[in-house]
């Protein structure tokens, strides 16, 4: 790294504090908070829908806006979880348990405050870690060739399968479906157009946005439409937000642990922000001297998961920025936003586009402050949105889905794909399959195919190339270990860690 981290960061702040960038960071945080609060619109759907609007912006502003939506949604999801027991997005599920119990005990204000403070601390600590780790990882990744990338991508898929809450087999099957979807379109190495059946638009392949909006946005609407209007909402005043000294003391440990756990889980592929909140909750319950308090309004049950999911949101940017590899659909859409501007993600991004990288890092500090300032005093204002009956809200969200997907490439075919994926996602969720691996498989598919075929071409057709090189073999061994760990509950009748933290149904 040239110039040292501090000098680079100062350069980043000079970009992030430009009025236009600051304004977009602010707008992103507000939109994200609203998106996070609305059931049926998670951070992924929110980012996907906003993607076309970023095409006309410069790449720094585009990524700052989308990142603001991402962590704004993380904050927003906690508000509805605590006040109404409605997780605006999946990562807030664990916050519902103790957050809503606190609301019922008249402690909604401190629960919201601790969630916001925990998110702020975790977000800030994670940005510090990102700042040091991403450039180091990027320099290391320059040693990667096709076999190493193959190992990394395969290991990523196995990590996803092992870490996901559902069955490992089902997750791998869904990832395979995603990989197959990624095969549609022109083959980069031979020029063959595959599985397009004469549809010209399919020659370019299937984009992540229609698949993501269909699987996550539309399928959620299909599941939740027809639900009754949410119950009455508490609106704590600013004074009621202040936690007691005892609550602050109890929250310090969970916030610190949640930050570390969340960041580490965030780096690995999968729905990290969701998993991290489950793991953090399980750990806090296990470490507590009074685990019986959990589920009845324990502040640690809010502080841990909220800190973890925000730290994971930042951790997910490490492989995205350092390696150009998305760890999930959200980072994939953000990579698409950068690539639209002709910037190639990968290990060279940090050195070739320092303004983009350091401006983005600095904007994350700014975004965390904006969210803290925004969320606590304005919580009463934001919850007014939830007064809109869902029967009015979901048709509008449906129209937004069509608008957002169409706008990406002005293609009706994309909207048809979204409708198909919405129906598919609905059936999957009804039958206990998780749709997230499809989106990840779709994104990783072209990279995986290219690296496998290049590796085989390099070795003259020998699979031995994957086991000759130290970095590659480490990753393959890692993948093998995960398969064995996944098989363990089959061979021994013990509970594995996922069951212990509440992610039932393994293998």
């Amino acid at each position: 790294m040239d110039g040292g981290v501090f000098a680079n960061l100062m350069n980043g702040f000079s970009v992030a504090l430009q009025p236009s960038v600051l304004a977009y960071a602010f707008a992103g945080c507000v939109i994200g908070t609203l998106v996070g609060m609305l059931p049926g619109l998670g951070p992924l759907a929110g980012i996907s829908l906003l993607l076309p609007a970023t095409f006309g912006l410069n790449p720094i502003v585009a990524i700052v806006l989308l990142a603001g939506v991402y962590y704004g949604a993380m904050y927003g999801g906690s508000t509805t979880s605590i006040l109404m027991r409605i997780p605006g997005e999946a990562a807030s599920v664990m916050t519902c348990i103790d957050g809503y119990a606190m609301t019922q005990r008249g402690r909604a204000g401190p629960a919201l405050a601790i969630a916001a403070i925990g998110s702020f601390v975790a977000g800030t600590l994670s940005v510090v870690a990102l700042m040091f780790l991403a450039p180091t990882l990027a320099s290391f990744a320059l040693r990667f060739g096709p076999p190493e990338y193959t190992g990394l991508l395969l290991m990523g898929l196995f990590v996803l399968a092992y870490m996901s809450g559902g069955s490992m087999l089902k997750t791998l099957a869904m990832a395979a479906v995603g990989l197959l979807l990624g095969m549609i379109g022109i083959d980069a190495m031979s020029g063959y157009t595959r599985f397009s059946y004469g549809v010209i638009e399919l020659a370019d392949g299937i984009g992540i946005v229609p698949v993501a909006v269909g699987l996550f946005g539309l399928s959620e609407i299909l599941l939740t439409a027809g639900q009754q209007t949410p119950p009455a909402i508490q609106r704590p005043t600013l004074r009621q937000l202040i936690p007691s000294l005892e609550e602050m003391k109890l929250a310090i440990g969970p916030i610190s642990r949640g930050s570390v756990i969340g960041f580490l889980i965030g780096i690995i592929p999968g729905s990290a922000h969701i998993i991290s909140s489950f793991v953090a909750y399980g750990i806090e319950r296990r470490m507590s001297k009074h685990p019986e308090r959990f589920g009845r309004g324990a502040i640690e049950g809010v502080a841990g998961p909220e800190s973890a999911n925000n730290a994971a949101a930042t951790g997910a940017f490490v492989p995205m920025l350092a390696l150009g590899i998305p760890t999930g659909p959200i980072t994939a859409v953000m990579l698409a936003a950068i690539m639209v501007h002709g910037i190639s993600p990968g290990p060279m991004l940090i050195t070739q586009q320092p303004d983009l990288f350091w401006g983005f890092v600095a904007s994350m500090y700014v975004g965390n402050v904006v969210l803290l300032v925004l969320n606590l005093p304005l919580v009463g204002l934001f919850v007014n949105l939830l007064r809109i009956p869902y029967s009015y809200l979901y048709p509008a969200i449906l129209c937004f889905c069509i608008l957002g997907v169409y706008s990406v490439s002005n293609s009706v075919v994309d909207v048809w794909i979204m409708l198909g994926m919405g129906a598919f996602g609905y059936v999957l969720r009804k039958t206990g399959f998780e749709p997230a691996p499809i989106a990840l498989g779709l994104i990783l598919s072209p990279m995986l195919e290219l690296s496998v075929r290049q590796s085989l071409a390099m070795s003259g057709g020998s699979y031995g190339i994957f086991f000759d090189r130290p970095i590659a073999i480490t990753m393959f061994v890692g993948a093998g270990v995960l398969i064995l760990l996944g098989l363990k509950p089959l061979l021994f009748k013990s509970k594995d860690w996922r069951e212990k933290v509440g992610l039932e149904d393994h293998v």
């Binding site: 395979a176 083959d187 206990g432």
Partner: protein, 161 residues
């Protein structure tokens, strides 16, 4: 956030398991992809062709499908899956499909107005005034925001609408 629609059913109940159906569907998908993949050269290991990876992944999908079906013993009964909101979902999807078909023919604003009027007026049985206010308000406001301010290209219909 909704959960799955599966009702927990004990492992002793007899009948078709949901994972058997899911596993079979996955195997059918894998077979179809494998069959369609005949059109593309698989090549050899030293020079894998465009058909190589789809074949490998389809084979893996088939194996996963088989294992899911074989391990279906503990999964819930297929009949226990709650599809109660399915009818409404199908109506919504058909309405969206009609709107998408109309999108480039009658323009963004008219097709969204029609979709919202149908969803609010017919599906949700809302009164005419709020339905029309939301339908027209959303269509024109979102068009102004995206097409006019953010310069996103949205289709126009007759009379420039």
């Amino acid at each position: 956030m909704s959960g799955t629609g599966i009702q927990p059913i004990g492992g002793t109940a007899r009948g078709l398991r949901s994972d058997v159906v899911a596993g079979l569907v996955l195997m059918v998908i894998a077979s179809v992809v494998g069959w369609q993949n005949r059109a593309y050269p698989v090549g050899n290991l030293a020079e894998p062709g465009p058909g190589y990876m789809p074949l490998m992944i389809a084979a893996a999908l088939g194996v996963f499908g088989l294992l899911i079906a074989l391990r279906a013993r503990t999964s819930p009964l297929f009949n226990a899956v709650d599809w109660s909101e399915g009818r409404r979902g199908i109506v919504m999807l058909i309405a969206c499909a009609v709107a998408v078909f109309a999108l480039e023919r009658i323009g963004y604003r008219l097709s969204m107005i029609a979709l919202l009027v149908f969803m609010l007026g017919v599906v949700e049985r809302k009164r005419a005034t709020p339905t029309l206010i939301v339908a027209f308000g959303f269509s024109f406001l979102s068009y102004y925001l995206f097409a006019s301010l953010l310069k996103v290209q949205l289709p126009r219909g007759p009379w420039g609408l």
